[in-house]
């Protein structure tokens, strides 16, 4: 990629190969001897981080495909079985799900870096456009991957996004039917999305090769924005860039691991733990965070076709960036005005993302429109204008000069910090206002399983199981839990014999036998908890029209908004106990007489914490209903706490393993990052 290599293998066998396929010379010239500007900062390591993430996503994805079933009636369950039964399945799934977010996070940093340092300018236009193509492919891949678990958000995300194409005049509906392979989103849609989700990453990898090729032809940009002139301006790729990139990757792994091991559901949506239901749309439907700014733009336009065009234009405008910004100076470091507007643009994007996650009403709509105008104005008005009127600061003569001069750019972080604080304050004020209107959220309980060292309370799990068995199981299934799970490490801790005895109390339908008849037999550890109703219709009919949900995943499928700024603190405190809090809230939130002005329809009951307050389930627990052997108080509060603990375990049986492994990984990574830091310093000591 950078001219003939001077690589000369010494071993005769290598010489033999090299004469016929000069692959070692190619690698040597591209990734060893390749001259890289010596002034690159850590924003430049995100290229390597992205390569790493692409590889990680492909490897974990290929593995998940070994266990996943792309079929509408089995997809949701197969994902749950991956998490529950496959060896390290929970880890691989968390890696892939969090990996998607990390991939997008890294690509946004990479893109903003390109924007700030003018990486799209001559002679790197094609390099930049290839990047935009990769980004589009990533969006398509991420979207289709999110559909595969076939939860509520998967299903309705698929419906909403494919319906975007129905805005196309005349042929829209035909295109949508073509995408679906049916008259609605269904099994054919899932099948083709699986196929394409497997295909597209390899297309991305192909375009990445072109992207790197173009990069090695034009040469890397750099913070100074002046091209390398002499040998003093560059260092060889290996070891200098290699070690720096690897250090960047290892630090990035810390963030990645935080999500994998401690916050696996932080970026997901609780609704996606509810199996897809074509009859009910989730009350508050939002895409994954990485699409939110574009979603906000879509929603700000009150016309269907115009909204879709605006959304796609918001991405396509990036293609034209090299011709919109004609300033000769590349780096914003030397463009005082462009620099300020760049940071404002970053904030506009973040705010658009925030608005995309909020309901489209009131002030949010107006703010969305203003910011959409700002977004496009940045590219279409500001950039051409600045190119003409701005007077850039003098550039350094060479990269070597830039490194030696260490130009003081202390102002930038200060300005951006001030702006960030103002934005944070604004968001805080906004959320306080919106919080007032919102319903009361369930109070936070003390949970033994919270935090990085959290463990389930065995006694509580056993009591919770008793409450489930004696009360909840009359109406609610627990179909993802097998009796054997009660003896698994990190669970209620029953012995093998106890599990067998527990299972034998149940009658399990089996068959057909040699005569072709179904029969009942005592349960075995491998059997799953039997459901109280034979099918959903029966469950609905017996419960006044509302089917009692399966409780296996309820602790992860129910949540409530934490609001700004709490959701930011939650990331650091590892708060993720909304589910169990909500369960306790529901079980203790019944009130015989609704507050004045609230009418509850016939056959429903008032519950303080149920969305809409009218719940079809009558108050299930009362004091003294279940007797505990260990002398714990027979109160509703105790029952609720214990059954919520049990249901949290049912929803995530490997939580203890996850947190324990996480601690080991963090100890290792912190030590490794330290070693990498000093190694990098030693290596670079020669260059400075």
């Amino acid at each position: 990629m950078s001219g003939p290599s001077d690589y000369q293998p010494s071993h005769p066998a290598l010489k033999w190969i090299e004469r016929r396929l000069p692959i070692m010379g190619f690698i040597h010239s591209s990734f060893v001897a390749y001259p890289t500007p010596r002034n690159l900062n850590y924003w430049w390591t995100f290229g390597a981080i992205l390569s790493f993430m692409l590889a990680a996503q492909i490897v974990t994805g290929v593995i998940l495909a070994m266990h996943y079933t792309p079929e509408a009636t089995m997809a949701f369950r197969s994902v749950e079985l991956i998490v529950r039964d496959v060896n390290y399945g929970w880890l691989l799934r968390n890696m892939h799900a969090a990996g998607a977010s990390m991939f997008f996070f890294a690509v946004y940093v990479h893109m903003f870096r390109g924007l700030y340092y003018g990486s799209y300018k001559e002679p790197r236009e094609v390099l930049w456009i290839l990047g935009v193509i990769i980004y589009l492919l990533m969006m398509a891949t991420g979207f289709m991957g999110y559909v595969l678990p076939w939860g509520q958000m998967s299903f309705w995300g698929a419906t909403v996004i494919t319906n975007l194409f129905s805005a196309i005049p005349y042929v829209g509906d035909s295109i949508v039917t073509l995408l679906w392979g049916g008259y609605s989103v269904g099994n054919p849609t899932l099948n083709r999305f699986f196929s394409l989700h497997y295909l597209l990453p390899f297309l991305i990898a192909g375009v990445v090769v072109l992207h790197v090729w173009a990069l090695h032809v034009a040469g890397q940009g750099n913070p100074a924005g002046v091209e390398p002139k002499t040998e003093k301006d560059t260092v060889p790729f290996t070891p200098y860039a290699t070690i720096k990139d690897l250090f960047g990757v290892s630090v990035f792994l810390l963030l990645f691991s935080w999500f994998i091991f401690y916050m696996p559901n932080y970026l997901g949506d609780a609704d996606n733990y509810i199996p897809a239901n074509p009859g009910v749309t989730p009350a508050h439907i939002v895409p994954e965070w990485y699409y939110l700014p574009f979603y906000a733009i879509l929603r700000s336009i009150p016309n269907k076709l115009a909204g879709v065009i605006a959304m796609f234009s918001a991405i396509l405008v990036l293609v034209f960036l090299p011709w919109l910004d004609t300033a000769k100076t590349r780096s914003c470091k030397y463009r005082p005005l462009a620099k300020q507007f760049f940071w404002i643009f970053v904030i506009v994007c973040i705010l658009l993302g925030y608005l995309g996650s909020q309901p489209p009403e009131g002030i949010y709509v107006i703010a969305g429109r203003v910011l959409t105008v700002c977004y496009f104005a940045y590219f279409l008005i500001l950039m051409p204008l600045l190119s003409r009127i701005e007077k850039p600061r003098p550039l350094p003569n060479s990269i070597a000069d830039d490194v030696l001069a260490k130009t003081g750019s202390k102002v930038t972080p200060m300005v951006s910090t001030v702006i960030a604080l103002m934005v944070a304050g604004g968001l805080f004020a906004g959320s306080v206002q919106s919080a007032r209107a919102e319903d009361e959220t369930p109070p936070s309980q003390k949970w033994s399983f919270a935090g990085p060292f959290g463990k389930y309370d065995r006694a509580a799990l056993q009591r919770g199981l008793k409450v489930y068995k004696e009360v909840c199981s009359n109406c609610h299934a627990l179909s993802y839990i097998a009796f054997r799970n009660l003896g698994d490490p990190g669970g209620p801790g029953y012995s093998e014999a106890q599990v067998k005895a527990f299972a034998a109390e149940y009658k399990i339908k089996d068959g057909p036998n040699d005569q072709g008849d179904m029969f009942e037999r005592p349960g075995r550890p491998a059997d799953y908890f039997p459901s109280p109703f034979p099918n959903e219709q029966a469950a609905r009919a017996a419960n006044g029209g509302a089917a009692p949900p399966d409780l296996s995943l309820i602790a992860k499928a129910r949540s409530y908004e934490r609001g700004f700024p709490w959701f930011i603190f939650d990331f650091f405190t590892q708060f993720q106990e909304q589910g169990p809090n909500y369960i306790v809230g529901i079980l203790t939130g019944f009130e015989d007489t609704p507050p004045a002005g609230v009418t509850i329809p016939e056959g429903s009951y008032y519950n303080k914490y149920f969305p809409g307050h009218a719940i079809k389930m009558p108050k299930p627990l009362s004091d003294g209903q279940v007797t505990f052997d260990d002398g714990s108080p027979a109160t509703v509060q105790q029952y609720a706490h214990d059954v919520a603990t049990f249901l949290m375990w049912a929803a995530e049986p490997h939580m203890e393993e996850r947190k324990q492994l996480g601690m080991q990984v963090f100890v290792f990574l912190v030590i490794f990052c330290g070693l990498m830091y000093f190694t990098k310093k030693k290596v670079w000591a020669d260059a400075h």
């Binding site: 070994m66 039964d85 030693k682």
Partner: protein, 176 residues
């Protein structure tokens, strides 16, 4: 990487590089394990492979049944007096995979032969009561097993395997 600045203290520098490299190697190997172990049978497959009980009462003398345990066909054969005699009259030393008939059954239940019905050649399923030895004949490559499930003729290298099992009562066995 050999430059002037490292000449004064090469050992410290080398130690750092070796330590970093070793940590990277350890981390990579540890990370690889979950990616490999995921291919092993998952918990539900292992649970489904639990022991099974089989009632022997419906199997008359000279008949056999095929049951499945861990996805493998298990032949349970109620042998005739003639079959038992044949199996015991062969000189053990002349066999390809020498084993006495007694070592392949449970004593006191001499008529019951329980073997995994998978040819030890390449995994096909031999047909019971066929071949020259009153036992099993594999249609794939012509291996023949006798009434004790021992290899007598053909390319298979070993006798039909005996699964782990025990008699729960005189008419019931537990396989696994």
């Amino acid at each position: 990487m050999t430059t002037a600045s490292s000449a004064d203290q090469p050992t410290r520098r080398d130690f750092l590089f070796v330590a970093t490299g070793a940590a990277a190697a350890v981390g990579t190997v540890a990370t690889l394990w979950p990616f490999i172990d995921q291919m092993n049978p998952d918990a539900s497959t292992i649970a489904a492979g639990a022991p099974i009980e089989v009632d022997l009462t419906p199997i008359a003398e000279g008949q056999d049944i095929k049951v499945f345990w861990r996805g493998k066909p298990i032949y349970i054969m109620n042998r005739t007096k003639k079959q038992i005699e044949e199996a015991r009259s062969v000189p053990v030393a002349s066999l390809k995979d020498p084993a006495t008939d007694e070592s392949r059954i449970k004593s006191g239940h001499d008529q019951w032969l329980v073997v995994i019905g998978i040819c030890t050649h390449l995994g096909c399923i031999p047909i019971a009561h066929e071949g020259n030895y009153d036992g099993f004949f594999c249609p794939c490559h012509g291996s023949q097993y006798d009434s004790s499930g021992r290899i007598r003729q053909g390319p298979a290298p070993a006798n039909l395997a005996v699964p782990p099992y025990q008699f729960v009562s005189d008419t019931k066995i537990q396989i696994g």
